[in-house]
């Protein structure tokens, strides 16, 4: 808990207009997109520049107050959930694009810049910023950095980490450091590589150097309707097997099509497995490959194939896909968005197991997934008003994750571990793996102040001696041997 004196100190340091302490205003910050976890912060600070972030973080370091940095709060794993007794550092006011360097294909931004604004800014030059999470019209680059956000097009273009070259970071001590460089391969550990995706646990990014990509000459989007998800999944394998690398390969099942139709009227065909394929590149090449894709769809029994004929049609196709999560509200009072990854080839097996599990639990599961990279988003539908159904839904969603790990996959492909999946991380990694990750945490944040109690299954102190092995004194003295 912060006392009045400490709050006064914070006000004096940053200025009263940079701090929120009123209860009703604080409630805006009590959760992120994962709304079933809520914690009211003690205060929210709204810095306008790196120095103010440093001042806020130094205050936290001095008083050992935990802090959580936050962008737009669109995360789906509770990553921006405030720490009890701590403050939230909202980066919403640090929203300037600082530099656009077209010859070197670089853009430097502050963390509060919205993802889509980067593309807007560089599109007159024929470029775009590739990571495109579904929330891209509102989510911030700072949040994308924390979560290593992906999106539908990361199959071809990679994730946030692929596009971050350098970062200015305020460490949990309040010290400011530069990680990485706009030039490649500068000597030293790849600190941007480990910082991106660390979910705000290693410090606060205050400036980010991004790589932008030339907009391809042509983009073609195809929708194919199948009688089953398996047939759609097989087509995905065939496309990859043919040596193509589409920019997106998405599958939706009947339930998610129904929800998306109800929400945005994307004019999807009613079917059990809808495949969306997007190819981009030189026009003639894309046309030739699109023909090949259509043949593969037909071979797997597609009964309707549509190629978007205009940019407007293409945008509508994507609008339906990107609205799929939110659209679930149209067909179910409540739902849980899950995010797991499996090797693509395990898809048919896993889908039938999910379907069996859903039946056994008496719940409906809608499936939307980035099929090209095996990233599933099962949506477990339930009604909170029915006693016990929420618990059942939660259990089912965790069992689906477990299934992903058993099949050689991951508990999260893009939403992050955050608060939601701390325990599940222990299913995926052993104790020595987690202890090794903790070494990185402790190098950046020995006091565990930056977004504490997230990601890892149990809180750990940096003074704890991790690692499975401490040599016995007899062994060190050469009296006994281990073997």
């Amino acid at each position: 808990m912060l006392n009045e004196r400490q709050l006064d100190e914070l006000r004096a340091t940053l200025g009263p207009d940079r701090i929120i302490t009123g209860r009703s205003q604080l409630q805006t910050y009590e959760c992120d997109g994962l709304t079933n976890f809520r914690v009211l912060p003690e205060a929210v600070v709204l810095p306008r520049n790196t120095e103010e972030v440093q001042a806020a973080v130094r205050f936290c370091a001095k008083h050992r107050v935990p802090f959580v940095s936050r962008g737009a709060g669109t995360g789906l794993s509770g990553g921006a959930l405030p720490a009890a007794g701590g403050i939230v550092i909202s980066l919403a006011r640090m929203n300037r694009i600082l530099e656009v360097d077209i010859p070197n294909r670089l853009v430097v931004v502050e963390p509060g810049v919205i993802n889509a604004q980067v593309t807007q800014r560089v599109s007159p030059f024929g470029y775009f910023y590739a990571p495109d999470p579904s929330s891209q019209s509102v989510c911030t680059i700072g949040g994308n950095v924390a979560e290593n956000s992906g999106g539908a097009h990361c199959l071809k273009y990679g994730f946030t980490v692929t596009h971050v070259l350098a970062l200015e970071v305020v460490l949990p001590s309040g010290e400011m450091v530069q990680l990485g460089s706009p030039t490649l391969d500068t000597p030293g550990y790849d600190l941007p590589g480990v910082f991106v995706g660390s979910e705000g646990t290693l410090g606060v990014a205050t400036k980010i150097t991004l790589r932008i990509v030339k907009r391809p000459e042509a983009v073609r989007t195809l929708l194919a309707a199948f009688h089953s998800i398996e047939a759609a999944g097989q087509t995905v394998s065939d496309i990859i097997g043919a040596g193509m690398l589409p920019s997106a390969l998405e599958i939706m099942d009947a339930l998610s099509i129904k929800a998306a139709e109800a929400a945005v009227h994307a004019h999807y065909p009613e079917c059990d497995g809808l495949l969306l394929v997007e190819l981009d590149g030189p026009g003639r090449e894309v046309d030739a490959l699109m023909f090949e894709v259509q043949e593969l769809c037909k071979r797997n029994g597609a009964w309707e194939i549509r190629v978007a004929q205009s940019e407007q049609e293409r945008a509508l196709v994507w609008k339906g896909r990107k609205a799929a999560f939110a659209a679930m509200g149209r067909i179910s009072p409540n739902y849980i968005v899950q995010d797991g990854v499996i090797p693509r080839t395990a898809l048919p097996k896993l889908l039938s197991e999910i379907s069996d599990m859903a039946k056994a639990a008496g719940l409906r599961v809608a499936n939307v997934f980035h099929a090209g990279d095996g990233n599933l988003h099962p949506l477990v539908l339930y009604d909170r008003a029915v006693p016990g159904e929420e618990e059942k839904a939660l259990e089912l969603s965790y069992r689906i994750l477990h299934l992903c790990v058993e099949n050689g996959g991951s508990i999260t492909g893009e939403h992050g571990v955050g608060k939601e999946k701390q325990e599940a991380l222990g299913q995926m990694f052993s104790e020595p793996d987690l202890a090794t990750m903790q070494l990185v945490r402790c190098a950046f944040d020995p006091e565990s102040l930056s977004n504490p109690d997230k990601i890892f299954p149990r809180p750990r102190l940096c003074a704890e001696k991790p690692g499975p092995y401490v040599p016995h004194p007899l062994e060190t003295a050469g009296i006994a041997e281990l073997f």
Partner: protein
Amino acid sequence: MHSPSVLRFEEAAEHLSAITGSDFVRLNGAKVTAAPGSTEEISAILRFANANGLAVTAMGGGTKSSWGNSVAADIVLRLTRLSRLREHAWQDLTCAVEAGCTWADLQLALKCHRQMVALDPAWPGRATVGGIVATNDSGALRLKYGSLRDLIIGMTIVLADGTIAKSGGKVVKNVAGYDLHKLMIGGFGTLGVVTKVNFRLHPTEERRNSWTVRAMDPMFFREGLAALLDSQTVQSSIQIRTDGKRFALDVCVAALPKTIRDFGDQLQQIFRNLEIVQSSEEVWREREELFMRGDALILKVSMLSSQICSSTSNLMKFAAEAEIDVAIVAQATGLMMIRLSSSAESAISFVDRLREQVEGAGGRVVALQIPEMLRERLDVWGALPSSVELMREIKHRFDPNLILNPGRFVGGI
């Protein structure tokens, strides 16, 4: 920390023999060489070394063992026995391979399904996965596919205390936990010994075509290169090279035949006043060729991609004035390799000048191969990164007794 006198090397060799079997341990003066056969054996060796303060260096083909500051290792771990392709999930476009596998063997095995790890490091016939990872080597394909950080999806690492840790996994899309493997890439073996690497794969480039544009000065390439990079055709590779006399710009595109034809026409348009010829795959080995002269200084320079033509031009002028024999292969990504043959004084002033030129914009100059006469006089790594203290802290957490390649890395890490 280093106390070989306490423990005689014979004893160390005996200990290591108990781990790997005596066939795989050799005592070599003041150095023990061991060839462990598994991750567990490496773990046992590192536990032993850590407890006894013995410096360890891991080695594959040894093609880049001179890169970085020199290390006086007590134990050399040869990873040659860990050379199997453990898994090739070709339908998932992933594979898992042991660190001692040579790059050529790996690519050959993947080729049966027309797949590859989209990276073309130097000396593929001898260089191993582990060494390539440790030095973050990459070649001309980087322009299109990125570097190891974009291609590695998981790793098994043995830490200095013997802890075996896994990072990432077998799927391309995965944000669970910290990406420890990112720290290992280019970490010069100072944080752990990599024993297994999981890669994402790409289809092989079936239809490649390379062209070479020639000019008398690299500045003639400048506008054309900018136009190429700004064009919507994705090139696999672009490099500028010079042997000191003539200048060439090589470009490679992999695409369907008609796209290749279109691109050829585009190239004629872009460089309409210059000579353009079809070229062979051999041009992409020019970077490796620079190292053929074993007594030359080889520099790796990181700069902004927009700087490579003007830098090449300036450097060649300076070299001509100072009578320095220079050859350059510069990738369009802004990574440049320079071979330098000159007196010690000239070489030092060349490096100083170059560092002055690029460090301001965040670039760096690293000396990869240093002739004996310069070893003591030339700083291998150049200016320290601003985050060097954080790097030291990471090193300290991972390897508190400083046994893994001590001193080899930037900042004496």
